[in-house]
Structure formats: C-alpha cells, structure tokens
Symmetry: C2
Subunit: 340 residues, 2 copies
C-alpha cells in the first residue's frame, strides 16, 4: 500500500509531513511518496536521520497557497504538489492522496484528476467532530454551498459508508441537520430531503438540531456545505473562545491560578478531545479515488492520523462500497440525473 | 410605561413571571400587567407577599404549549395569554409584550395582532450572544427558514438599530455570516446580499465566518433563519457539552476534584457569561410594536432582564427608528416589493 503525501501543504510544511510520514511507516506496513520540492523535503528527512527506503520523494516545483482560488490554482500550477500528487493516484503509482493544503484546490484537483464516482452528483467534504459518546461525521462542510435534496441524500449514503468502513460504526445513525425535530420543520432543502431519506435503506433517525450534534444523537450529520461550514468554524471558534475565557477567569485570582495549575493536565486532555486534527482529516467523498484533507495546522501526529485514515479507506474499499451502495439505494434511475 | 407580561409561558410559569415582575417594578419606574389564569397568578403574588398596585393581572384562560403549531394555536386559542397579551399592546393598554412561551406563536400573534412595519418584508428574531469583547446580535434565528437577499438587508438594518438603541453600541458593525471572507465566497443568498449591503449606509464590515462570531468581529451578525437557528442551538449545545466534559474530566482524579472545587466560583461566572437568559430576551424585529421573547427556561432574573429590554425598546422608540431608517436606506422603491 502506497500513500502519496503532499509535502508542501499546511502551516508546518514540509516538517509536519516528513514527521508524519516517518511515524506512519514505523507504525504501519506502508510506503509513502512525499510530493514537493525535493531538496527541502530531503533536508527534513536528513534532519530526522531517516534513511530507510519506505519513504521516497517525488519532485513538484510549485506550491498552491492557502488563499488561492482553487480552479485557477490547479489550472495554472500544473507542477504543484497537489496536482502532481493527485495525478500519481490517478496513474496508480499511489493508492491515496493526503494534503494539509488548500482544501478547495485539493477538491478541484480530485474532481479534475480522479473524477466523480458515476452517479454521485456532488462530492462532499466530511469532517469528524467529537461528541459526548464518541465522534460524528458531518458532511458537507464546504464543497457545495447550494444543494438540492438529492445531493443531501447522496451525502447521507456516502457518510454512512464512511462511518461504517472507516470509523467502525455499525449501522450508523444518519441525522438530517434541521431547525426542529418534526418532519414538517425546516427550509425548502430539508423539507425536500426528509421524505427521500426515509425511502433509503439507511438507518435514518430523522431531524437533529444544532444542539444534538454534540450529544451523539446521530453518527452521520447531513447538511448543505454552507451550513456545515458554519457549523465547523463556529465549533472551532466557540471551543477556543471558551477555553480562553476559562483561562482568563482563572488568572483573575490566586485561588483560580492554583486551581488552574491543578487542572492543567485534565484541560490538556479535553483540548486533545476537541482537537479535530486528532481524528485524522476530512475525506473527499464521492471522488473516484481516495483524497484526504488534513487540517492546515496539522502537526506530525495529525498527518500520521490522516495517513491511517487513508489506509483504512483503501483497505476497506470505501470507493467500491459507495458504488455498490448507490446501486442498492438509488436504483431508481438517479444515475441518469445530470449535474445541474 | 406599561409592560404586558405572559404569565403562562416558559418552564417556570407562572412563578418566574411573577418573580420577574416584582423585581422589575422595584427597580424600574414601570407598571406590569401579567396576563394568564388569574387565580394561579394571584396565588403566586400572594406567596411573594406582593400587594402594591404596580402589578395587575389580566385574565386569559388558555395556554399555548411549547410544541403547538404556531398558526393553529393562535387561531384556536383566542383566549390564550399570548393572543390576549399581544392584543393588549395593539389596543394601547400596554406598551410592549413579553413571553417566555412558544416563540413561533408569539411571532404569529405579533404578525396577526400588531402587523409588520410597512416596508419590512419579513420580521426576524434577534438573539444576543456573548463574545470576547461583549455581545453580538444574531438575526434571524428562526423566523424565516428561506430568505432572499432583500430580507437579509432588512435584518441588517433592523439589527443595527436595535444594537444602537437597546444594546448601546455606537455605529454597530454589521457582518454577513458566510463561509469565507472574500466577497466572492458564499451561497446564492450571501452572494446576492453582499453587494446590496455595501450600498446601504450601514457600517457593513463584510463577511464574517462562524469562528469570528465569538471574537466580536461584528456587533450584528446577519444570516437566514435556518443558519441562525443552527448557530444558536449549536452554541448552546456545544457550551453545555464542554462544561459537562470539563466536569467529567475533573471528577476522574483527586487532584482534579480539588482543582474543580477551587475554580467552582469562576466557572459559575463563566456559566453566567454564557447564559443567554442574562441578556434579556430576543426581540421580534420588524413588527409594528414591541414583542420580546424570553428563553423558555427563564427564571425571575431573566424575565426582569427581558422587561428591561422591552422598556429600552419603548423608550428609545425602536419601531419608529426602524421606520425612519427604512426610508433612509432603502428609498429605492423597495417598500413596493410585495412579500413572496
């Protein structure tokens, strides 16, 4: 099994990529190809005294920056690590691509280079969020700002397979993110989606509200990419706002400082629980191949976790399972619906 | 100044209403009419040894429950506290209505009883959220699941006036909740709204992302009612999830328990900061009259705060200011656009 890793993506490139790759080949029986500026990456490998042949470097001279327009970037920078890395998967040189770089560019490169799974109208980005009972997969978190009911149904289907095959959840509960529990509540999109989800063979548990995400009411949370992106960023923002406020409160008194010192290791554990990077990256679901986005602030451990996730996707044949499930659940001619 | 208060709404009715009313007449120079089942309310007043004539009771025999369909409820229960209370404001008996009951029913009663401000297409529900720098007003948080750009522009305008007149913020910064900072990011709705907001005289600061809400990047956060409702409920859910997780972590060790005991008063302060009830309820903006929703779990203090907010709305002529501002900002014939 060969993983193609973007050496130039994320805030700590190429160091984090190299660290993650070394951790991964030590722990798993895999090979890794790091794509990017060869000299830089080899310098990092040398710094880490790494000499085995399980990690190789593939030259790509260009870098797509975080702020760049995805479509333009992949058209103009043909020799970027994202475009070259995705192509290596297309050509069968590697089995999966991982990047901590520009999410939109990764999605564009995947769409252009690997293509959509036949029948999937809109690939989606999934993200794992911590809950009281474990984790939930939320999708879409940003690939599709405007959606139709059929798109959400396909997100549900792909999310369900990912939750089962990669997160190891048996018969994942699928919830529709909505503004009320009753079937009659919602906007045009969710009102249109609910009856379609009921008809699938998925373990659909109905509408779930914003507050329910963290109580683990469902294993898969389905929403359009606008709402999902707001959910994702709001959660990150609120969590760090709360942690900051707690810290500030503690610093206002001596007793608070003592208490704060005592609870520091426990707060560290909590922080780790809330750290999305720990959960190993966001899959691009619906792509005819494996492409995983790691958080831009990923360190070596987060990259290693993303590699583990990519490995699970390959070993458990997530792409093939989605294809089969499409036939199973939506065998009503939906594969003929053209993309809007 | 006379405030009409729903005696039967919320989890702790009628006790919380009575307690809040007593606190309010002690602190402010106002009179309060509590609407609801006279006997029950008078019993509570007697329990509290209240005998002054600043609080009177107005009989209304029916109660609209939390789960009831708003439209049906206000049609069928003509003698409910929400319908009767709203009518007292319409008739000029009182200056503002406050309820901790069914939000949708309050909105329906307000729309039906008090009507929309001429030119406002969709009244919105605003909610105050705590931020690092103070508070922000988020709207709409649930009245309009599907919106058009002109609706969001009107929310911005009404929110700006409320933030200035009631929250005391000078030249409130208005942000459009979106999935990227650039003008080119968003869904159809936000892409259509951005250029319209730029044309207004509001202090529009551009797009703000989910994570920015809590850092106080804007004083007013504008979004459709679906997204706003998810934001509101997600924030409540995540805050209580985090507090719970911290508590659980602390209970796993002796040192944690000691640390937890030391920081308990500070955590109490934090909880208070996060407690939306402290901020005095959610205004129904765009209604031709004052109607304030208090959180369903409101205690006496929360009700008192809602009464303070209602008083500010009346004293600072929020409704008249919205009318004037409409003429000022949208004097391009928008008042002729019919509701869809």
């Amino acid at each position: 099994l060969k993983i193609v890793l973007d050496g130039m993506g994320g805030d700590f490139a190429p160091r984090a990529a190299v660290e993650g790759a070394i951790l991964a080949v030590q722990e798993y029986d895999i090979e890794i190809i790091i794509v990017g500026q060869e000299e830089l990456i080899k310098t990092e490998l040398a710094k880490a005294n790494y000499s085995s042949d399980k990690i190789t470097v593939h030259q790509a001279s260009e870098i797509i920056e975080m702020g760049e327009h995805p479509g333009n970037a992949i058209r103009r920078k043909k020799d970027s690590s994202i475009v070259v890395g995705t192509r290596l998967v297309k050509e069968g040189v590697g089995d999966a691509f991982i990047s901590a770089g520009n999410t939109g560019a990764c999605m564009a490169a995947a769409l252009f280079g690997l293509g959509r799974i036949k029948g999937i109208q809109r690939p989606a980005i999934g993200t794992v969020m911590p809950t009281d009972t474990g984790i939930s997969l939320v999708l879409d978190v940003g690939a599709n700002a405007d959606c139709k009911p059929i798109h959400l149904v396909q997100f549900a289907l792909m999310g369900s397979i990912y939750a089962e095959k990669v997160l190891g959840i048996n018969k994942p509960k699928v919830g529709l993110l909505n503004i009320g529990e009753e079937e009659s509540k919602g906007n045009e999109l969710t009102l249109g989606t609910y009856p379609l989800l009921k008809k699938t063979k998925l373990n659909f548990v109905g509408n779930i509200e914003g507050r329910d995400i963290f109580w683990g009411k469902s294993d898969v949370v389905v929403c359009d990419g606008f709402v999902g992106n707001v959910v994702l960023k709001l959660s990150e923002g609120l969590a760090s706002f709360l942690m900051n406020t707690i810290k500030e409160q503690l610093m206002t008194s001596t007793i608070g400082k003592i208490g704060g010192a005592l609870i520091k290791p426990l707060m560290g554990k909590l922080k780790k629980k809330l750290d999305y990077a720990q959960y190993g990256g966001a899959p691009l679901l619906g792509i005819d191949g494996i492409s995983i986005i790691s958080h831009g602030s990923s360190n070596g451990i987060a990259i290693k976790n993303a590699i583990r996730v990519a490995k699970e996707c390959v070993n458990n044949e997530v792409v093939r399972c989605i294809k089969n499930s499409l036939e199973d659940n939506l065998s009503t001619g939906d594969e003929n619906i053209n993309e809007q």
